[in-house]
């Protein structure tokens, strides 16, 4: 089980104080349980697995993926005659890890290439943290030296434009806003047009929260996407689905629906500073092959981290 020691080494580099702090609270419940588990059951037995099942399900991993994972772990344990809890835990991470990565390199940072601006469309259901995540992403790439433009594509919700404008102020970035209740795609057009003309590197497009079962609102999103494509042919190059870490099984339905309308290139999982087991991201990756790109760890503009699967699983399963 080289993985655990690899992870431990990676972790001990101490380049991640912030991440640790943020995740500490949320992961401790899970890891404490796993550790208790180990102490309680020295031998591999049914209780270990039924308790593991509880842990995974309570982390919103979902019944299917939980049962599938346990199945694999059981098979592996039998085959390799594992009967020590630490080895078992490490085999568990191994399984989760390789199922997630599927032997491919997964993207995290936004990719910049070509002469045209990179347009990132930010979508999701109501209240998940779209606008705040935009502020965080803007902060990240502004600090990386990019010329960033914000577009207030939520012309519907009361106070939404003001909210993004305030973030723009704080960040010292330009914000394109439309008239109240104007067509969001016209605001987006104006924004992307400006970005192309004035050589911006990154355009972050905010959208109104919408529930995925509202066809007319989903069509509106499709239109926004089309409008972007008119100005930036391969745009939006990124479409991020923002997902609240407390979301239950409907998260997969959300991902599926948004992916059908605007191809999702990644998930940003927010509110991971809370209780956050956030297991639905594993189910989403498993079913739809959409990777997590960033992780939100608070309400301030620098509360954003690159999603690091190793750290995530390590935190989830081992903790300290």
């Amino acid at each position: 089980m080289g993985l655990i020691s690899f992870l431990k080494e990676k972790f001990s580099k101490k380049d991640n104080g912030k991440y640790n702090n943020g995740l500490e609270k949320s992961r401790s419940a899970f890891s404490k349980k796993l550790n208790d588990l180990g102490k309680k059951y020295k031998k591999v037995n049914e209780d270990y697995f039924s308790e593991l099942e509880e842990i995974l399900i309570e982390a919103d991993v979902g019944v299917n993926l939980t049962l599938q994972t346990i199945d694999e772990l059981l098979t592996k344990a039998k085959k390799e005659k594992i009967n020590d809890y630490e080895e078992l835990n490490s085999a568990l991470i191994d399984i989760l890890f390789s199922n997630y990565t599927n032997d491919t390199d997964l993207p995290t940072e936004i990719n910049f290439d070509g002469d045209l601006p990179t347009v990132a469309l930010i979508v999701g259901v109501n209240g998940v943290g779209k606008t705040t995540s935009i502020a965080k992403l803007a902060n990240r790439y502004k600090n990386a030296g990019k010329k960033v433009l914000l577009v207030a594509g939520d012309t519907f919700r009361a106070g939404a434009t003001e909210q993004l404008a305030l973030w723009g102020d704080r960040l010292g970035l330009d914000v394109i806003v439309g008239k109240e209740n104007s067509d969001p795609s016209s605001v987006v057009y104006d924004g992307v047009y400006k970005a192309v003309k004035e050589n911006y590197d990154l355009v972050l497009v905010d959208t109104a929260g919408r529930l995925q079962n509202k066809n007319n609102l989903m069509m509106e999103l499709e239109k926004i996407k089309r409008v972007i494509g008119k100005l930036v042919p391969n745009g939006p190059q990124e479409t991020f689905l923002i997902l609240d870490a407390t979301t239950g099984q409907n998260g997969v339905v959300q991902a599926k629906a948004f992916n059908e309308v605007t191809k999702i290139t990644g998930v940003v999982i927010t509110k991971m500073d809370g209780t956050s087991k956030g297991g639905i991201i594993l189910a989403i990756k498993n079913e739809l092959n959409i990777p997590v790109r960033f992780i939100g760890l608070g309400e301030k503009m620098d509360d954003l981290e690159i999603f690091d699967l190793e750290k995530y699983l390590y935190g989830l399963c081992i903790g300290e």
Binding site: V63, G159, Q212, N215, M218, N250, E260
Partner: protein
């Protein structure tokens, strides 16, 4: 839908049990396993499911299944009734008799507190003629006060704010004083979203509560929230002390199992559900419908209600009459297509009916596009042509082509659709004459491709 599969799965188990007359300790386990999965998929908390199944088991064991036509439905009914039982009765009574009364809204970030504050204000103002003061105590999220202010203005109630540099405790105190001085009936306090592990902010809630001594403290539950709702609600209840729940985003398609978790945990009432983004979108909580939904049984009542809201009855009746007396023309067809499209855009409600074909966004888009084309084509016709499409010969069609910018093919499509609709209607009229029952609830498949859209609404729907 999950309901179908749950009943199916239970039926299969029963098939294997053929010959066994009773539900027993030994044969029930397999059934419980399926029920367990259904509940977990609906986000009912793990611990709650465990205890819940124990109750179901007690109720089911010993039940006589001999001679029961469908024993699996018997089990589902036991489960269903048990859920309804746990969910409690309908209770939307607000404790606002005293003047002023105070209602406080609390919960995690993004669960819908501000919108719900406005919905409650709207409800109290319009349904109970109360003078309401909305109070902006979210001093953290950028533009939260703007949001509440705009909402307050739109429903015509006052908002109290002291900006963002005063503590929420002080703001709420001043609001209450203002309410006393100026004869407000109800003060609604919108608080900032917070994590239950944030000790400092949880303490702030306790202080606000101490300061204003509210009659009601509602915790907002996002309908799509997962397993952790159980723990979060527990902490909020222990630290702040709640009087009830409001479930938000109920117009989504999440199964909402957390309703069961929080009821199980606290036995506090679920007062309202939020069913949309507008201030009027607040509804009463119905335990039986919630049980259907948790079990994925399709909330048919909600469906019919929603459909009726969207459906212009007068328009529908007019069309029906025209159909029946054979005077259906192109204008009628267009009107009818618009109605059907409106229903289609409700999208989600169709999913509420078990076994209903699903319209994909592509199909919906196609239908909308087709309708736009139809509209343009039909609008380029003269009145006479619209009422008597049979006079449309080549030269007239050519003129319409030029006028509408559409192709000959488009025009022929419109006419073909018209012919089909007309034919279908004539058949229906015949059926009716032959005593085939009331209006068949069978709308000619307006606009939707490949018959994919169910031109077939549940009976009685077109009332």
């Amino acid at each position: 839908m999950a309901f179908d599969s749950l009943t199916d799965k239970l039926s299969n188990i029963f098939k294997r049990l053929r010959g066994q007359a009773r539900i027993t300790e030994s044969n029930i386990d397999e059934m419980l396993k399926e029920i367990r999965i259904a509940l977990l998929e609906a986000d009912v908390n793990f611990k709650v499911v465990k205890n819940f199944l124990e109750n179901v088991k007690q109720k089911a064991i010993g039940q006589d299944v001999v001679g029961k036509i469908n024993p699996s439905q018997l089990i589902v009914k036991i489960v269903h009734d048990e859920i309804v039982d746990l969910l409690g009765g309908t209770d939307c009574e607000l404790n606002v008799k005293k003047s002023p009364s105070t209602i406080m809204l609390v919960g995690l970030q993004g669960t819908g507190k501000t919108t719900t504050a406005a919905k409650l204000a709207n409800f109290l103002k319009n349904k109970q003629k109360k003078k309401v003061l909305l109070t902006a105590c979210d001093v953290y999220r950028p533009a939260a006060i703007d949001q509440l202010g705009q909402l307050a203005k739109s429903i015509g109630v006052d908002m109290f704010t002291m900006g963002t540099s005063v503590s929420p405790v002080e703001i709420s105190l001043k609001a209450k004083q203002k309410a006393i001085d100026e004869d407000y009936d109800v003060v609604i306090i919108d608080t900032a979203g917070r994590l239950s592990i944030d000790e400092q902010l949880m303490e702030e809630l306790t202080l606000i509560k101490k300061a204003v001594n509210p009659e009601e403290v509602f915790f907002l539950v996002d309908s799509a929230s997962g397993q952790d709702t159980y723990n979060t609600a527990n902490i909020f209840n222990e630290k702040v002390g709640l009087t009830g729940f409001i479930m938000s985003k109920f117009d989504g398609d999440a199964r909402g199992g957390s309703a069961l978790s929080i009821r199980y945990l606290t036995h506090l009432p679920i007062k309202f559900i939020g069913v949309g983004e507008k201030v009027g979108d607040l509804d009463i909580f119905h335990p039986d419908r919630m049980a259907d939904r948790i079990l994925g049984m399709g909330d048919v009542v909600t469906l019919v209600e929603k459909a009726q809201e969207q459906f212009d009855e007068k328009e529908a009746k007019k069309t029906v009459n025209k159909m029946l007396n054979g005077s259906f023309n192109l204008d009628d067809m267009l009107a009818q297509m618009k109605q059907v499209n409106k229903l289609g855009s409700l999208g989600g409600i169709l999913k509420l009916i078990p076994g209903m074909p699903k319209i994909t966004p592509e199909q919906q888009a196609y239908a909308e596009k087709e309708m736009r084309t139809f509209e343009i084509v039909i609008n380029s016709m003269t009145k006479e042509e619209r009422q008597h499409p049979e006079i449309l010969k080549f030269s007239r069609k050519q003129r319409i082509c030029l006028g509408s910018g559409k192709t000959m093919q488009d025009i022929n499509k419109v006419l073909k659709k018209y012919e089909q609709s007309k034919q279908m209607m004539e058949q229906m009229a015949k059926m009716r004459k032959n005593g085939g029952g009331g209006f068949p609830g069978n709308f000619p498949g307006g606009g939707f491709p490949g018959g994919g859209f169910p031109g077939n609404f549940p009976g009685g729907f077109g009332r």
